[in-house]
């Protein structure tokens, strides 16, 4: 599983969200999405498939497809998928971190690069720390649905902390934040939470 985590994260970081999603889904039956809507690479969608239109997902090469003939996938298999998707999402978080650093390095506030502001540095340090911790959580608890769901929830939080650093520029649809937004929707499709 550790190799799969590394591979999914590398593919998503280097080739983008859709490629990472393809690597994570691997042989999973897409009709087994627990909520009845599967997030899949757009290239997997067959003609006439019941796609839920979503512009930002389309621009990331991702599609949401309603499961016409729902099947059931064992909980442990969905949990393992959650681990691989967690690795993909961590890669998107890293990409967003890199963009935030670049963006803030080019801005000046009160005569100082914004990247040097203490509150900004604190957020970046927290994100970098949590990224490492969450990757390890995937590695040590790949069979725990609770632990895997927690990783996804915290990735969503980290992405939001990074988006806040971008100001309104992160709220335009063609911003790098778009990938993180779609990655949250992918998790919404595939991750099951106990007690929800």
């Amino acid at each position: 599983m550790s190799d799969m985590i590394t591979q999914c994260e590398r593919v998503a970081h280097d080739e983008g969200l859709a490629a990472g999603l393809a690597a994570a889904l691997d042989t999973v039956d897409v009709n087994s999405a627990p909520g009845g809507v599967a997030a899949v690479p757009a290239t997997w969608v067959t003609a006439g498939a019941p796609v839920v239109p979503y512009d930002m997902a389309r621009d990331e090469g991702v599609a949401f497809v309603r499961c016409e003939t729902p099947t059931t996938t064992a909980t442990d298999e969905l949990t393992r998928l959650g681990v691989r998707l967690g690795a993909v999402r961590l890669a998107l978080t890293r990409r967003l971190t890199e963009h935030a650093v670049e963006h803030l390095s080019s801005r000046v506030a009160a005569g100082e690069p914004t990247i040097r502001k203490q509150l900004v540095l604190g957020t970046l340090a927290d994100v970098l720390t949590a990224t490492e911790a969450l990757r390890q959580q995937l590695r040590v608890s790949p069979d725990s649905a609770v632990a895997v769901a927690d990783v996804h929830d915290r990735i969503t939080e980290l992405d939001w902390e990074l988006a806040k650093l971008l100001g309104a520029s992160g709220y335009v649809t063609d911003s790098p934040k778009r990938g993180a937004h779609v990655s949250e929707l992918i998790a919404n499709c595939w991750i099951v939470r106990e007690g929800a």
């Binding site: 999405a33 627990p34 909520g35 009845g36 809507v37 839920v52 979503y54 930002m56 949401f64 801005r107 506030a109 009160a110 502001k117 509150l119 900004v120 929830d153 969503t156 939001w160 988006a163 806040k164 100001g167 309104a168 709220y171 335009v172 649809t173 063609d174 934040k177 778009r178 937004h181 929707l185 919404n188 499709c189 595939w190 991750i191 099951v192 939470r193 007690g195 929800a196």
Partner: protein, 372 residues
């Protein structure tokens, strides 16, 4: 804790009823925010236009439900905004009318400037805009680059690049902040009517709150007659950015009110979808507390309008809680919830906008800590 008097409780109830009309229109405006024609006669939007227009400028032939209430105070407007945003905040910001620009005109405008502003928008079909933010400066009002250069023919020529301006590209009149010199005291607010020579703009494709038609504006030598600068009748220390600081305090509470309203909407939606489920109790308790924080901040603005700490507390807390509550709602409705429930998906996008309006959370943190 701020107690609402009977008239404010009536206003709150009236707005809660009206909000259903906004909810019904929410997805249509999100999908096609340029097409507002079918919505402009909405009773709720008319009520908001009325409530945010000073009574002396309301048209006698255009009575609205707002006429029965006193809506001049920050507290009254916050009480109303929470309930209306509980219908849909995207509709609130899509509405023609005074909006933020009106608040600036009320604070800094002379009687003649106020007449001009409210006459221009009296048809209920004219959008206004508040142009402060610049691409490289964010919402740092004291650092703006926009210039008001003296015009040899009299008045000024306005040169500015503004970005993330609600309803900017479709506005008929707006307030643009720019400087006549180097010092912060030279930052002034200019009334600009559109169309104007040298004024161009286009809407940006934003993730959420799409009804606001958030825009990028270019002002290339737009002529500004001297009488269009707001605040000429005020002391130098109150006519520009420092005079507008009170407006920013009121704005922050309003933005927080929209955030908390959306969070209530998401909570309400989960309760509708899961009747009898008690899993909302903690969220409900936090929301009620956040609303009290808001009311306290609004009352503080009414009593001490220069104190920026209470509004910043309300905005920092309200926007953070709203994001958390919409995430909670998505989780509460199970896998695929954001694809099965378009309103909830929209609100999850919308709440992020409030973070970026009038100062991010880090800016609010600085205000709060510096005011301690």
């Amino acid at each position: 804790m701020t107690e609402l008097d009977p008239s404010l409780r009536e206003l709150r109830a009236a707005c809660r009823d009206m909000a259903a009309d906004l909810r019904a229109r929410a997805l249509a405006v999100d999908a096609d925010p340029a097409n507002m024609a079918p919505h402009l006669d909405s009773p709720a939007l008319a009520m908001i236009r009325g409530a945010t227009t000073p009574k002396r400028f309301r048209r006698a032939d255009a009575a609205t439900a707002a006429d029965g209430y006193a809506t001049e105070t920050c507290l009254a407007r916050v009480v109303a905004t929470v309930e209306m945003a509980r219908g849909d905040a995207g509709l609130l910001v899509a509405n023609p009318g005074p909006a933020l620009a009106g608040t600036v005109v009320d604070a800094l405008g002379s009687e003649a400037q106020q007449e001009l502003f409210y006459d221009t928008i009296a048809d209920g079909r004219t959008w206004t805009f508040f142009a402060m933010t610049e691409p490289e400066r964010g919402s740092d009002a004291t650092a703006i680059d926009a210039r008001l250069d003296p015009d040899p023919d009299g008045g000024y020529r306005l040169h500015a690049h503004k970005r993330y301006i609600s309803n900017g590209a479709r506005g008929g009149i707006g307030v643009v902040f720019a400087r006549t010199g180097a010092s912060p005291l030279t930052i002034r607010a200019a009334l600009v009517r559109c169309p104007a020579p040298g004024f161009t703009g286009h809407p940006l494709d934003m993730v959420g709150l799409r009804g606001a038609r958030i825009s990028e504006l270019f002002l290339d030598g737009v002529p500004v007659p001297r009488e269009m600068l707001l605040g000429a009748h005020l002391p130098a220390s109150r006519r520009g950015i420092w005079g507008a600081s009170r407006v920013f305090n009121a704005m922050r509470v309003q933005i927080a009110a929209m955030a908390v309203g959306v969070a209530f909407a998401a909570r309400d939606y989960v309760r509708e979808q899961r009747p009898g489920w008690s899993g909302h109790e903690l969220v409900s308790a936090r929301l009620k507390a956040a609303r009290e924080v808001l009311y306290d901040a609004a009352a503080a603005v009414d009593h001490a309008p220069d104190d920026r700490r209470p509004p910043s507390i309300a905005k920092l807390h309200g926007t953070d809680l709203a994001v958390r509550v919409t995430r909670w709602a998505a989780a509460a409705l199970g896998p695929g919830s954001l694809l099965h429930h378009p309103l909830l998906e929209k609100w999850c996008r919308d709440v992020h906008a409030f973070e970026f309006m009038d100062g991010t959370s880090n800016i609010q943190r600085l205000h709060i800590a510096q005011g301690f």
